[in-house]
Amino acid sequence: MSVTFTEDKLKKAQEIILRYPEGRQKSALLPILHLAQEQFGWVSSDTMDYVAGLLSITPVEVYEVATFYTMFHLEPVGKHVIEYCRTGPCCAMGGEEVFSHLKTKLGIKANETTSDGLFTLKEVECLAACGWGPCFQIREKYFMHLTNQKVDDIIEELSK
């Protein structure tokens, strides 16, 4: 399956490439992988090949980067990816209880997707919001000071 950016995304990608000094266009790789994930939801090997073409670098250079960084989904994900923090400070703020409630509510474990394809749960490390924890992130939005009740409300809202 061939992959292409929308006109908007392509324009954005070209702007990004121009930010770096001559011959350093490879620096655009992470921002452009984010752009690709925004459009396609995940980063497939076709996407990586496409990005390699845009930056005139080899596909391997893209694979090794996309697999190193944890934010890139290398497999299809649900409509909403809930990335919840499992690190110590959030646990001290009550994270373990809240996220076990979340898992029970969705009926899935970490790194699984609900059968209706609506939610994927991903365990992540500290999101730099510790004192405002427990927290999770859905796309670019942070949800903080989570409680079981708040989790229920958020899931209900997103299930509509």
């Binding site: 980067v65 646990c91 730099a128 510790c130």
Partner: protein, 448 residues
Amino acid sequence: MANDIKILTEHINIPGIETFEVYRKAGGYNAVEKAIKKMSPDEIVEEVKKSGIRGRGGAGFPMGMKWSFLAKPEGVPRYLVCNADESEPGTFKDHYLMKNLPHLLIEGMIVSSFALGANKSFIYVRGELMYVVRILEKAIEEAKAAGFLGKNILGSGYDLELVVQPGGGAYICGEETALLESLEGKRGNPRNKPPFPAVKGLYQSPTVVNNVESIANTPWVINHGGEEYAKIGIGRSTGTKLISASGHIKNPGVYEITLGLPVDEFMNSDQYLGGIRDGHYLKAVVAGGSSVPILPANLFYKTANGEDRLMSYESLSDGGFPTGTMLGSGGFIAMDETTCIVRNTWNFSRFYHHESCGQCSPCREGTGWMEKVLHRIEHGHGTMSDIDLLVDVAKKIEGNTICPLGDAAAWPVASAIRHFRDEFEWHINHPNEATKPGAVYMGAEILA
């Protein structure tokens, strides 16, 4: 404390302060005017040196000294890179500063870039904070439209372009050479040093890497002078420090404190953390981000000599690792008596194992071992020899790796065993009790 001065957060509660207009009205960008119109780059470096400010990213290296090491070969560009990766567990101050006061960082980036002779500077923000990337990009557009960025800033002939770069989710990219690799579009593998970034950094050119909070201090230093800055704080801990506070305290959040504030006042006064939540008492503190040694409550309040401990680089590290810790990034995690130290140590170990880049075997293998052994102690399958095994593995990692992540992984384990050995032993001797949900060893020496 007499001088309760706010260098960074004075204006943080003014409505609309995230916009150029309001920030400018509050005196913002005056430092750029002063620096570019009235000062030479060397004079600015001199002021930063006089301020005595130490890097706020964790290592506490004097900022002016770092700047003066920057190599200046003819015809080679120089770079300033702001480290906004903020991924040390317990730390969320740069996040707070950037989302509320984006123009303060940008103002700092302009004066710092001018001082270092950089015409293109980067702010590397952890990718999870994409919404902050967008806030910064908007602020940059506003500053550009007002003539403070871009070509010929304020008619001075000085050009500067600021680029905000998102990371991709990797703690190791907070280490400065891994960050530079990442910024070049590669995996975040730390580089061997030397050469240091000051000689060969981004694109093999001389580069300064500084933390967000470090750079955000420079406008004040320019406006008021380095000597004034050095009057704030205590001894070699000059200025203020942002502390990110989390855990079992009444008022979690980010605080700007004057360095030298007594630990007791910070912990217990209502102006700051407000003490431990009602009905509980302090068991342990991690004072500077997950990688610094954990301290039991008694050693946290008082040094081994019985002196009151202060929030400063020197006082927190008093006694070295046997009885002290480090200020680090200011990621302050307070734990009450309901905290299981074994579980917490296992959690941090898993973090470091997960985040090890895998380049050097002591770190790659050692972090995996520590995680595995701690997991088995926590889950009721440990043996007494496991405790010494942990100490041994931690010792073998420490100092034997390319970058300090290895040390960062070893210290929490070594210090937890040093101060809470009886709790590890209790887990091993009572496998059935220890694994019950919420089971906690209560016998450690604890100060109410």
